[in-house]
Symmetry: none
Subunit: 192 residues, 4 copies
Amino acid sequence: MARRRGQALDDALLDAAWVVLQRVGYQALSMEAVAAEAATSKNVLYRRWPSRPELVLAAVYHRAPPSPSDPPDTGSLRGDLRAYLAFMSDRLADVVDAASSLLADFPGNPQLLDTVRRSAFGTPIDIVADILQPIVDRAAARGEIPTASLPARTLTAPLDVARFQLIMSARPLDDLQLDAFVDDVALPLYGA
Amino acid sequence: MARRRGQALDDALLDAAWVVLQRVGYQALSMEAVAAEAATSKNVLYRRWPSRPELVLAAVYHRAPPSPSDPPDTGSLRGDLRAYLAFMSDRLADVVDAASSLLADFPGNPQLLDTVRRSAFGTPIDIVADILQPIVDRAAARGEIPTASLPARTLTAPLDVARFQLIMSARPLDDLQLDAFVDDVALPLYGA
Amino acid sequence: MARRRGQALDDALLDAAWVVLQRVGYQALSMEAVAAEAATSKNVLYRRWPSRPELVLAAVYHRAPPSPSDPPDTGSLRGDLRAYLAFMSDRLADVVDAASSLLADFPGNPQLLDTVRRSAFGTPIDIVADILQPIVDRAAARGEIPTASLPARTLTAPLDVARFQLIMSARPLDDLQLDAFVDDVALPLYGA
Amino acid sequence: MARRRGQALDDALLDAAWVVLQRVGYQALSMEAVAAEAATSKNVLYRRWPSRPELVLAAVYHRAPPSPSDPPDTGSLRGDLRAYLAFMSDRLADVVDAASSLLADFPGNPQLLDTVRRSAFGTPIDIVADILQPIVDRAAARGEIPTASLPARTLTAPLDVARFQLIMSARPLDDLQLDAFVDDVALPLYGA
DNA sequence: CTCTAAACGAGACGGTACGTCCAGTCTTCGG
DNA sequence: CCGAAGACTGGACGTACCGTCTCGTTTAGAG
C-alpha cells in the first residue's frame, strides 16, 4: 500500500478508530485493534494520541464535530425546546456510549472532562448564550413567559435532566420522554 | 492464615475490593489485585462475582448500603430540599467515581444499569414515594406551594440535575451549587 | 447414589481412573477428572493414592495385573521367543503410554520406578527365572543352542531391545520388528 | 535491564530454561518460571516455543548439541565399544531425565518423538553409519569378528539395551554395567 | 535533483491482567 | 467414622494488550 502521511493518515486513523468503536464499543476498543484496522503501527497512533480516551475523543470529534447549530425557531417556546432536545438526543445517539465511558476513564481529570463535555454535550456557556437564551428571549418577546432573565442553572436544567437520562439509558430519548422534559420540566421552570 | 469461609470470606473480599478501589480507582482495579489484597485466589472472586463491575458494585453496596433514610423535616420546603440534596451529595461522594465508571462498563446493559442506579442513586420510584412526595405534601399543607400533585418527572428533575453535576464533576457539590439547585431549579419547578 | 465403600469403592475409583486414562491420556489425566468420573470427592482418592502416578499405576495394575503366564512352548527356540515377544507387545499395547509417562513422572525415584517396571514390564528376575531360562533350557536340551548358562544381561537383552522400541514408538510391534528381534538379536545372542 | 533481541535473547531464554530444568526437573518446569528466570515475559517464550516440551528440547539441544563425534579407535573392538558406550552414557547423563520425560509428553506424536530421539540419542542411521559400522569394519579387518555385514538391528541392539537401562534407572551407567553390555551383549552378538 | 531527516510500517520487547483449570487441604453434613 | 460434596489457598496455564523500542523503507523538502 502507498504510504500515507499528514492529514490523509490522520483521517485514516480516526476513521479506523471510529470503525472499531462501532464494532466493539469503547470498553473493548484497544489501541492494537485500531492500529491493525488502520493497517499501521501502534507507534503512529501513540505519536498522535497518547491514550485511548484521547484517541476516541478525537475520533468522535472527527466524526461529528460539535455543530454550532442555529437555535431552532418554530414560533413557539414549546416547539423550540422540543426541537432542540430532539436534535441533541439524535446527535448524541451514537456518541453517548463513548461519551459516558469517556467520563469514566479519567474521573476527576478536569481537563479531559471538560473536553469531553464540550465536544459531546457542547459548552454550557455556549449553549446558554447561543441556543437557550435566544429561545427564551423570543418566548419573552412573544409574551409566552414573563421574563427572559433566568439564572444559568435554571436555563440549563431541562438539558441536564435530558442528558442525565441519556447517560443512564444509553439510548436516544423517545417522544414521550421529550414531551415530559418539555412539559414537566422546561415550561414550568421557565414560567410558561 | 486460618482458612475463611462463608460470610467472613465474603466480607473480607468486599473489604479488599473497597480498599483497592480507593487506592487505585475503578479503571485500574484488577481482579488480581483484589485477590492479592484479600490474600486469596482469583477463583474465589470469580466464583462470587463473574466480572469487575459486579464485584465493585457489591463492594460499594457492602460499604454503603442504600440507606432508606427518612425524608428530612426541617419545617420548610427549602430546608427539606437542601437537606436531602446535601445528604445525597455526601453519600455519593466516594461512590460517584465507581458509579459513573460502572455506568460505562456495560453501556446498554439494562440489568446492570438498573442495579447500579438503584444502589448508587436509589430507585427513582422509591425516592419519589418515600422522600420527595412527603416533602412536597408537607410543603403544600403548609401552603408553600399550590399543589402537591406534580408529575414524576417534575419531582425528580432537581435531583437529576444534581446527579448529572455529580457525575460530570466527580466531586461533592458545594454550598453554592446546592443553593442553585434549590433556588433556581427545585423551588421554581415546584411552584414555590 | 448408594454409598460405596471398601472394595467396591476401590474398584469404582480404579475403573474411573482407567476410563479417564483411555479418554485423555496420562498427561491430561487429573485427579479432579477421576473423582468426577467416579462421582466421588478428591479426598477419597487422595486417601488411597497420594499422587497421580500411584493412582494410574494402580489403575493399570487393576486393569491388567502382571500375568505370571507360563512360558510358551512351541517346540522351537525361535517359536518360543517370538511367542513371548508378541505376548509382551500385546499386553503392553494399551499400557505403554501410561508406562512410559510414569517413568517420566518421578525420574530417579527408585521405589516408584521399580514398581512401574515390575507391574508394566515384569520383574527382570521373575522373567528370567520363569520365562527365559525355561525357554533356553528346553532349547539347549533340544540341541538348538550349545549352552543354557547365559548371563542375565544376555538373556534379557532381546527383551530390553524390544521394550526400548515399544517406549520409543509407543505402539505395538509389528511382525517385521518381531522377526528382527528374534532373528537379528535373540538367536545370535543365544548362540543359535 | 537493557532490552535483548535476536540471538542474545534466544540464548538467554534457553539458558534460563536449562537452569530451571536443573533446579526443579522437567515435570515441575513451568513456562512461568522460565520466563521469570530469564527476566522476560511468557509472551516471548511462547512466540518461540509453543509448548513446554519444545522449549525443553531446544534447551537441551542448545546445551548439548548432538555431537557428531568421531568413532573411537582404541585398537580393539572391546575397547571401541566400551569407549562409545561410556561416551554416550556420560553425554546423556544430565539429559536423560528431560529426554525420558519428553518422550512421555506427547506419546504417539511421531514428529516430536523423532526430534527427541535424534537430539537426545542421535539418529539411528547416523549412529550406525558413522559410529558402529566403522567400529565393526575395523574389528573385521583385524580379524576379531568374522564379518562386518551385520543387520542394523543387530548393530544397534547393544546401544538400545544400554539406552533402555539409562531411561529406566535415570542415572549414568557404572563400570560393571558397561562391562556387561560389552561382554554379555555386544561381543557375542557381533560374533567375537 | 540529489541528499537527508523525519515519519511510516512492521513487529519484538518487558510487563500486567485476563479468565480457567487443577493441586492438595480442609470443612460440613449425612448415613 | 467415612463417603459425598464442595470451598479454600495456591499457582500455572495460554492469550490479549499495554506502552516502548528497534529496524528498515519511504517520502518530502532543503540545498
